[in-house]
């Protein structure tokens, strides 16, 4: 059981347009797996399929060794509690304070006492260096801070897999670097598997274990960066600015 996520022959359609065409891939435990590709190539769609926000037209998705595409909601909820997801804009609940946002999954899915939940929230907020934002509302935060709060919320339940939708988009290089360091720490200290959609070159070079490159819904490459270099695929060479 080395593979934590296994996808077989996944097909996604929007009306009659094919978004994902027969994608198969496996993601190993404790690796940082990067989904990349040209705009409109189906990156976010692939991510949304894995976390069950969209049901596939055909194909199967295994998470923790269980087939999830036809799973009942109650059972899938159990899978979801072991998953964290960081959305592009943070997707914090705007009507709730920062600490309430981070506490939400804990309050809903555990029977922990309120004071313990509060301690856990403080711990997660410290991990992302946002102790001072405890009592603020999301509208009072900057874009980077929102993302960090969202990260704190995503790791509140100590998930086994963490999904990121363009984590460093819209961040300055220094904040992006800090986020990457945080990601590497999460992998090292907590043994989390990370699946990341991004096209920040620097970030990919820093953190990627393996990548999938999507072009017009097809996976034209899956493997490590070194392998990508050896394979010498035109599109990927151009993406990374590698000379042939």
């Amino acid at each position: 059981m080395d593979n934590i996520i296994k996808i077989k022959n996944l097909v996604a359609k929007y009306d009659t347009k094919i978004i994902l065409d027969n994608i198969s891939l496996s993601i190993k435990k404790k690796e940082i797996f990067i989904i990349l590709g040209s705009s409109g190539g189906g990156k976010t769609t692939l991510l949304k399929h894995i976390i069950g926000l969209i049901k596939p037209v055909a194909g199967t998705i295994d998470i923790f060794g269980q087939e999830v595409t036809k799973m009942e909601d109650d059972k899938f909820d159990k899978v979801l509690t072991q998953i964290g997801m960081l959305f592009q804009g943070g997707a914090l609940i705007n009507s709730m304070k920062v600490w309430e946002n981070v506490a939400m999954p804990l309050e809903q899915h555990t029977k922990l006492l309120p004071n313990i939940i509060r301690d856990l929230v403080k711990h997660k907020l410290s991990l992302v260096n946002l102790e001072h934002a405890y009592n603020l509302y999301p509208s009072e935060l900057s874009g980077g801070m929102k993302k960090r709060v969202a990260l704190a919320r995503a790791i509140a339940m100590d998930p086994k897999i963490l999904f990121f939708d363009e984590p460093s988009a819209g961040l300055d290089p220094i904040t992006a670097l800090e986020l990457d360091e945080l990601i590497l720490e999460l992998k090292k200290n907590l043994g989390i598997t990370l699946v990341i959609v991004t096209h920040e070159l620097e970030s990919i070079k820093r953190i990627a274990d393996r990548i999938i490159y999507l072009q017009k819904g097809k996976a034209i490459f899956i493997g490590t960066l070194e392998e990508a270099r050896v394979e010498n695929i035109d599109e990927i060479n151009r993406f990374f600015g590698w000379n042939k």
């Binding site: 976390i51 926000l53 509690t81 997707a91 809903q108 899915h109």
Partner: protein
């Protein structure tokens, strides 16, 4: 910059956006006689894209130009870049459009029914089970949708009662049927105006708020975030509103009924000179329990319609901030329409005692 010599407009080496206005004005002086003017751009080396656009369109109008080499190549490139067809390729006939619209309407109705069934089942579950909804959220929603609506509902119900009785009193008085004002105001307030006015105000206040909140959450991916946290948005966001609305709207309606009748009471005493005791006795005599049942049944149905319609338009939002505005407007219009339709239907049913 340029100079005009007889029928020639001669440019120096630059032709920029800032020259265009005066150039066009000067060109207009020649009127429609295009062949009478020659424009010499042979020395122009510095120019803007807007100049390319102007010159390109003038060439197509058959103006006489002398162009520099650089301009000729740039205009060719420019013309090629703008040569794509900007019109929408899918053109549907009127009939096809109608079919599409009818189709869309029915698919909306189906999705509304499915959503309603889901919301009902989650709301009933939420009454008994605390998991999956926020602590104190029902109480918070009752405050928001019920408590905060009290002043406006009171005021409007009072005014409606007052106006309704004033208009009727003038007519009744001519026949000496003063005492029947009591029947009129009590029955119409309790069975019709009370529930309807309250529902319309609440649809405007809270129905719109529900649609706006849910559609914003949809657009900012908050709903997706909830789903990924294994929290059902229907359970977490809609169910508390549904429960709160089912509680608050009937209570508001009871108040509205009483305040409306009070409005009638003031007209009866001041304008028709009925004694308060007579009004009171008559009112109690007219007010049967079945009228109150009607009133409550209506307001409960209205409360469901308001929440369900708000949620429906909220979840089906398309586009960005503009979509939120559209969803909110559509939800209020649809909710008020549904409330009045349902009221009419129920009134007919009750009147004929089906």
């Amino acid at each position: 910059m340029y100079n005009i010599e007889n029928n020639k407009i001669i440019f120096d080496n630059s032709f920029l956006l800032t020259d265009i206005d005066s150039f066009i004005d000067d060109l207009k002086k020649y009127g429609t006689n295009i062949s009478s003017v020659q424009i010499d751009l042979s020395k122009v080396e510095t120019f803007d894209n807007s100049v390319l656009a102007v010159v390109n369109s003038l060439i197509k109008k058959k103006y006489q130009f002398l162009l520099s080499e650089k301009l000729i190549t740039e205009i060719k490139i420019f013309d090629k870049l703008i040569s794509f067809n900007e019109k929408e390729t899918v053109v549907t006939s009127g009939f096809e459009n109608l079919v599409l619209r009818v189709n869309d309407f029915f698919s909306q109705i189906t999705s509304f029914i499915v959503l309603s069934a889901d919301i009902f089942s989650y709301s009933i579950k939420a009454i008994f089970r605390k998991e999956g909804r926020r602590k104190g959220s029902i109480y918070e929603q009752i405050l928001l949708m019920g408590n905060n609506a009290v002043p406006i509902v009171f005021l409007l119900a009072f005014l409606i009662g007052l106006i309704l009785s004033l208009q009727s009193a003038a007519q009744l008085r001519q026949f000496g049927a003063n005492i029947y004002l009591v029947d009129l105001i009590v029955i119409s307030m309790i069975t019709e105006m009370g529930p309807m006015i309250t529902a319309i105000i609440v649809a405007g206040r809270s129905g719109s708020a529900i649609a706006a909140e849910i559609s914003t959450m949809q657009i900012t991916e908050e709903l997706d975030a909830l789903k990924v946290m294994a929290l059902n948005p229907l359970k977490y966001v809609v169910a508390p509103k549904m429960i709160a609305m089912t509680i608050s709207l009937p209570i508001l309606t009871v108040f509205a009924n009483i305040i409306g009748i009070l409005g009638g009471f003031i007209i009866a005493v001041i304008y028709l000179e009925l004694s308060p005791v007579v009004f009171f006795n008559r009112a109690v005599g007219v007010m049967t329990l079945s009228f109150w049942w009607q009133s409550m049944l209506k307001s409960v149905l209205f409360s469901w319609l308001i929440v369900l319609i708000g949620a429906h338009f909220g979840f089906n939002v398309k586009g960005g901030a503009e979509g939120v505005g559209k969803a909110t407007t559509a939800s209020v219009v649809a909710a008020i329409f549904a409330v009045i339709m349902t009221d009419a239907l129920l009134s007919i049913i009750f009147y004929f005692d089906f």
